[in-house]
């Protein structure tokens, strides 16, 4: 009898991938158990200072996601945990976990940090890669989630000071490791990677020369919260370096060490670290990057690379560094390298090793327990057409564990894995999740304001500096304050109960808490207020810890004075607070997918597996898109067979309505309530209602104009070559391929990513079917990233000649009757070479689908300057548009390989499921609202709104602004700009803000 399916998922690894997968699963109604080996989640990304290509501060974009995960009712985080056993099968697994003791009671610890301040023992701080020290009782970093401390049992001498200091009595020395058994439906592996141990490359002197650091150490050096406060200093003498060198491919593309693969992200983070280093250094800083191939293959990566060269003056040297030696006196480093055959040495103040990625530590043990196959590099074995599935049914993989990859790919794969995990247990959706019931909301509109003020001691964090009792007494004297009290920890569970009692007891209709930062604690208090029957927006907070007691520790009098001002100011705002309703919109649980290529089809199948209706609109006569033209792959899978299976599956699925030769003519409405007109091939028009849109319009091949393409039949594109080979019509003695045709030039500066892979694929095919044919590949940078590096080396060993060219010495193709000539500069022989190839094969770039412009305007979504679609956030929301409910995947986002498109397609499906899985959507309450008599219809607001959440509508003949509450994010841009002040912002009205300002500045008579 088939075991009952369980509506829960286990996510292994709390890095950015694990977090994204957990959020998507939890938002789609599934119980998630997120486990991590360390004391808190965040993974390696939490250590990074900035992220490319946007130079966003890594913590700024990651911590909101961590906080959301920490607070999500459907997600249980188990830290210090590792898997010890697995039984059962897909749909019903039993997982045995061992949770190592933290020696701290997690429920009681609220992360106030007093114990760490007072602990006498110091230990190496591995979060800062050993460049700093921490106490024996620690959290990795201030924004850690869960913010619970941990005792480092090896270093701790057991003196007992922390137990005494801890006001919350959260220390428990006798806490033992515990065994936990979880019952889940599917498992997602996101354990990330282990940075390569740079000591293995002894010739670079890491570990011996102080000024040779790894790239992760350099991230900490760059970080404002790092050991040197963001100033770039040399570990040997604390001087600011004048010349720094980056050595790429350390521990990657290294055959002897057994890591022949390329770690995919080092080129880019190397460049980024060089740029940020220059930005952080007041004095002149020269940065040189020693590289073999500059693999800036991602979206807008080449822009970044060019800016690094031109704007930031980063010097790029194409050479593999032989070794590094140290001048013991000055601590400077001599980098020995070879540049066009002449050995050179340059002196640098600091050398940064761009270390590659290796599989996570003791991953083979986990693999054995879970019985999943690893590939020859000990990464997780996956197939090109099923990049998210491991060898075991029901266990999925995402992130660097399947192959070294960059953050956007990991995040996309995370959503994809979430979709796969959900599809197995789709019927169990919502079964194991607890939906919170709130008491009926009390109508306070007719009541006089009665405010309750709760001032927090936070142990001694606030109470140690601010005279809390004096602030409470003062609060009692303020107008409209009906009750005020002090608490030791306002955020603790028992104080929540106390607040609810006080609300009933004193008939409070507004609550103010003076404690720490609302960014982490506002949701907690809003929920408590709502549980007491009050509208959650009748609550406000002021920060008297991080922005008062902690920063005025030596001026207790002024700090107390400031705390009183802040309380008076927030009470003034609270008096004016009005209840706000969270707009609830219902959701048509149907999807619309534009584009029937491999991405469109996969997305449709995934949504259908989740049980949702899908309208799949394809412009061509048949499904398949670009996949039609692919006859063979580098990996030994048959693309055409997979294509047919996909088409059969899509057309056979009764939930997927396929419209071939059709086009989406018009899309109106907003998330959950879209109405679209589909122009069918027979001229009819069909109107459909749907909740989400997935753009999978793919991309097309660039029709070259250079190199006599179209003028000489022997000049063909890679696709045309593939056609010939596939149909057996290929016969040639020597073939020359030219890379970067129509890409990496002024008009299209960014790389088209897949041409290098295509060239190598065809070159190997040629060598396979007619080994004697000469094959030349003229390339600028051979960007065979990740495991594709193996094929690059295979091609080279099989005699394919790779010749580097650069922009100022491009190859020339000239044609004389009956003969084709190719002239190019051979950098090693340093001479012009002329060939008469049978074919000149152009690796034509993949360019945006010309239809993108129309679709973009229709959906009111932006395009990048290259013409691809611009997603909400390049790093952490690659598959969402800024506009809610619209998603994208595949080559519409940017050129990519098939497995990457499939990952994105599944990802987009998961993202869409977070909306489709709900019958109604509750939106944020803080929105703009328009007073229609004041509105003059001047359209300023419509123009300003980045989310198109406000539009001008006819009302009794008068143009009036109307807010689409579902789309409005409450940023207030429109409200501020409105000339007639017709727009008021919920919870941040002008009167409230002015009242806050006035109260803050009032001269109080008290001393």
């Amino acid at each position: 009898m088939e075991k009952k399916k369980v509506g829960a998922v286990l996510v292994v690894g709390g890095g950015v991938a694990g977090v994204q997968a957990s959020l998507d699963l939890a938002d789609s109604g599934f119980k998630v158990y997120l486990i991590d080996q360390g004391p808190s989640i965040g993974g390696v990304m939490a250590q990074l200072d900035k992220t490319f290509p946007t130079n966003d501060c890594s913590m700024c974009i990651l911590s909101p996601k961590l906080v959301a995960t920490g607070r999500h009712p459907n997600i249980s985080i188990l830290t210090n945990a590792e898997i010890t056993g697995l039984s059962g099968e897909a749909g019903n697994f039993e997982v045995k976990l061992r949770k190592r003791s933290r020696y701290i009671i997690e429920e009681k610890c609220n992360g106030c940090g007093l114990c760490a301040q007072k602990c006498p023992i110091e230990a190496v701080d591995m979060y800062n890669e050993g460049l700093a020290q921490r106490s024996a009782i620690y959290v990795d970093y201030p924004q850690a989630v869960p913010l619970k401390y941990k005792i480092d049992r090896e270093k701790c001498i057991g003196c007992g000071t922390c137990y005494e200091i801890c006001k919350a009595k959260a220390i428990e020395y006798e806490q033992k490791d515990s065994e936990v058994t979880l019952n889940v439906g599917s498992i997602i592996l996101a354990p990330g990677f282990e940075a390569f141990d740079a000591k293995q490359k002894s010739e670079y002197g890491y570990g011996r020369y102080l000024n040779v650091v790894t790239s992760i150490e350099f991230e900490r050096i760059l970080s404002a919260s790092g050991p040197y406060g963001g100033l770039v200093l040399r570990p040997s003498d604390g001087e600011i370096p004048k010349k720094i060198a980056f050595i790429q491919c350390v521990g990657s593309r290294d055959f002897q060490l057994g890591n022949p693969y390329c770690s995919a992200a080092c080129c880019m983070y190397g460049m980024k670290e060089a740029v940020i280093a220059k930005e952080h250094t007041p004095s002149k800083l020269d940065a040189t990057i020693f590289y073999m191939d500059l693999r800036a293959y991602g979206k807008e990566f080449d822009d970044y690379c060019n800016r690094a060269k031109e704007e930031w003056g980063i010097r790029f040297v194409r050479s593999r560094v032989a070794g590094v030696t140290e001048d013991t006196l000055t601590g400077n480093l001599h980098v020995h390298y070879v540049e066009n055959e002449t050995p050179k040495t340059e002196e640098y103040d600091m050398v940064i090793l761009s270390i590659g990625m290796t599989p996570p530590k003791n991953i083979d043990k986990l693999a054995k327990i879970l019985d999943i196959e690893l590939n020859k590099y000990n990464f997780c074995e996956t197939k090109h057409f099923s990049p998210l599935e491991t060898s075991k049914q029901g266990i999925f993989v995402c992130g660097a564990f399947s192959a070294p990859k960059d953050i956007p790919e990991s995040v996309a794969q995370a959503s994809g894995a979430a979709a796969k995990a959900m599809s197995i247990i789709a019927p169990e959706r919502g079964k194991l999740v607890t939906v919170k019931e709130y008491p009926p909301e009390r109508d306070v509109s007719k009541e006089e304001p009665r405010i309750g003020v709760f001032v927090c001691h936070c142990g001694i964090n606030i109470g140690g500096v601010v005279n809390v009792p004096e602030v409470v007494e003062y609060a009692k004297s303020l107008p409209n304050v009906a009750y005020a009290e002090a608490n030791l920890y306002t955020c603790s569970q028992d104080t929540q109960k106390l607040i609810r009692e006080k609300i009933e007891q004193h008939k409070l209709n507004r609550v103010v808490v003076a404690s720490c930062t609302p960014r982490t604690h506002e949701p907690l208090f809003k929920e408590t207020v709502q549980e007491a029957g009050l509208n959650p927006y009748l609550f406000e907070m002021t920060n008297i810890r991080d922005q008062c007691s902690w920063v005025h520790m030596h001026e207790p009098k002024e700090a107390t004075e400031k705390a009183k001002d802040l309380v008076r100011s927030i009470v003034a705002k609270a008096t004016l607070l009005k209840p706000l309703q969270k707009p609830v919109i219902n959701v048509t649980q149907v999807g619309l997918i534009i584009g029937g290529g491999v991405s469109g089809m996969i997305a449709a199948l995934e949504l259908a597996k989740q049980g949702f209706e899908v309208h799949l609109v394809e412009r061509e006569k048949e499904l398949g898109g670009n996949l039609r033209k692919i006859h063979y792959l580098l990996e030994n899978e048959d693309p055409q067979e997979k294509l047919n299976n996909l088409v059969r599956a899509v057309e056979g699925n009764k939930r997927i309505h396929v419209y071939l030769g059709a086009e989406v003519a018009d899309v109106t409405g907003f998330v959950g309530n879209f109405k679209s007109k589909i122009a069918l091939h027979d001229g009819e028009e069909k109107e459909v209602e749907h909740g989400i849109v997935i753009v999978a319009t793919g991309a097309t091949e660039y029709k070259p104009t250079e190199y006599l393409y179209g003028k000489n039949p022997k000049v063909i594109t890679q696709h045309e070559l593939e056609e010939k080979i596939a149909n057996g019509r290929f016969k040639a003695k020597n073939v020359a391929m030219i890379q970067c045709v129509g890409a990496r030039n002024e008009e299209r500066p960014n790389c088209a990513r897949i041409c290098c892979g295509q060239a190598i694929k065809n070159a190997l095919k040629i060598k396979e079917i007619s080994p004697e044919t000469e094959v030349y590949v003229l390339y600028k940078d051979l960007r065979a990233y990740g495991f594709k590096e193996d094929y690059y080396r295979e091609a080279a060993t099989k005699g394919v000649l790779f010749i580097n060219y650069d922009d100022d010495r491009k190859p020339q193709v000239t044609s004389e009757p009956g003969k084709l000539k190719l002239l190019f500069w051979e950098p090693i022989l340093k001479e012009e070479i002329e060939l008469e190839p049978d074919f000149v094969v152009l690796s034509a770039a993949t360019i945006p689908n010309p239809d993108n412009k129309r679709v973009a305007e229709m959906l009111k979504v932006p395009l990048t300057k290259d013409g691809f679609f611009l997603e909400a956030h390049m790093k952490l929301r690659p598959l969402d548009f800024a506009t809610e409910g619209v998603f994208l995947c595949g080559m519409a986002h940017s050129p990519k390989y098939i497995d990457e498109s499939i990952s994105q397609a599944c990802g987009a499906a998961a993202r869409a499921t977070t909306i489709l899985s709900k019958s109604t959507l509750e939106m944020e309450g803080i929105v703009a609202n328009v007073d229609e008599d004041l509105c003059s219809g001047c359209r300023i607001c419509e123009y300003l709104c980045p989310y198109n959440a406000i539009e001008i509508k006819e009302k009794e003949g008068k143009p009036v602004a109307h807010v689409i509450e579902a789309l409005c994010k409450g940023c207030g841009a429109c409200g501020t700009a409105c000339p007639t002040k017709a727009i008021t912002m919920g919870h941040f009205t002008t009167e409230e803000i002015l009242a806050q300002v006035k109260a803050a500045l009032m001269e109080e008579a008290t001393a």
């Binding site: 007093l114 007992g160 000071t161 005494e164 006001k167």
Partner: protein, 577 residues
Amino acid sequence: MTVISCALEKKRKLPPCRAACPADVNVQGYISLLQQGKFKEAVELIRKSMPFPAICGRICVSPCQDACSRKNSDQPVGIRYLKRLAADIEREQGRIKPDSILKKHGEKIAIVGAGPAGLSAAYELAKLGYPVTVFERMPEPGGMMRYGIPDYRLRKYVVANEIAYIQDLGVEIETGVEFGKDITLDTLRDKGYRAVFIATGAQLSSKLGIPGEDLHGVFHAVEFLRLVAQGKTVDIGEKVAVIGGGNSAIDAARTSLRLGAKEVTILYRRSRNEMPALPHEIEAAEEEGVKFHFLVAPKRIIGEGTRVKEIECLRMELGKPDASGRKRPVPIQGSEHTYTVDTVIPAISQVVETSCLPTVLLDERKETILADSLTLETKILGVFAGGDIATGPASVIEAIGAGKRVATSIDRFLNGQDLHAGREEETESVSWVKDWEKITKKPERYKAPQVDVGRQSVSFEEADRLLSQAKELATVEARRCLGCGPCSECLLNEGLCDADKAIVDETLCTGCNVCAVVCPFGAIKKNERGVAQVDDLSCKGCGICSARCPEKAIIMERFTDDQIRTDISYALKKEFA
């Protein structure tokens, strides 16, 4: 002496030694003075509690020593010996002349009986400024101290010296005045005495009540010792039998030896460990050759002519314990056997001679005067009674205690105050020691020479050396005292000690609990607010917590950091010779 009126909560916390002392002597106080070698101040402090340090140093039953909590670790502190040494040294180095007390009150007080109870009452009342006259039947004052205890235990000059101190306070003692004959309650009242304290003690020996008791050669212990004390000759024979197991039995036996008796045997109807006499007295008697026969009771004394020839006794066996908790001896039929002796000294107990007392005062069994044990009032207003006459034969220290209590009663009676108010104070014996294993053991108690300091015929240097050696050993022995009681009970109230107190600055304390760890007395702990709090009672002011506090949040009231700093600077400034 007024009860120390420090405003403690209801229960007054005392160290075990003081709690056990009937006279509430501040033992912990003078022992800690001895620790500092302050012998003079120690004696002055003892005198504040009672007038007879030298006497009690020699013959007190010392309940304090038995209660000393050090017995849980090794041996109690030698409190009695230390009191004796302090008093002797003071006497040898010239007794302190008390400054005369000005007479604050007019009312004259009469005290009948110059025994320990009477003299103690006179002493306390004199200190309060009352004119006191003590009437004593015997030619010399002292009562049992002079006439009941043999010389080898208590020299007469010691008694005289201590009584002289009382007379220096202005107390008049009229000897040779017999109550009931020369003076009566009425004559005293006529003479203007507003209050009378009857403390004539228990003068008569109890009779055996067996045939032959009135034969020649039978001397009852009390009268026997009184005659010897008066220096009269007593013709005891060579073979003496003493009946009884108390101190007076031992005294009678050892005195007989000193009077030339060849063979002295003590017959006691119970076994050795029921003997009420002091253990070291029993050992001393054994050393001096006194024989003991236990479980033997006299049946009849057989005389030859009027002289005692032998005594016939019965063997006893111990049955169920009687009211006093001691096992009741039951004669074994037919176990008669005789001892040939020529003298028999019954020393079984003492009784009060009630003939001269107005019968109204007596209790229903007409053996002692009925008096309230706390206020010592009798049935007649203004007439008080205490000591053996009210309680029956008891120890000297209990008599002294009675004297102290009656002084308070008389003082209140004369001032019209209620005698009972606030006096039923409960006392609670406390000791800060929690874990006796942790207390380091000092098993061998320093034995100081028993010889009377100063009196031997030795050269001056010799005496000086002996004296300093005794002082040194006393300090070492005093060091064994753990100072169980709260500081205020020791010297602080006497103004003799600059004891310190710890004070916590709560704004600085972060609750690291180091103070609680290092404090030897557990006097500082974290309160419910998680901040250190000092228990003033048990804090002894050593200052260890202040020296160790990681946040420097604890300051000492007297020896502040600044005080120490100024001392250091002052010391450094002075030129170094």
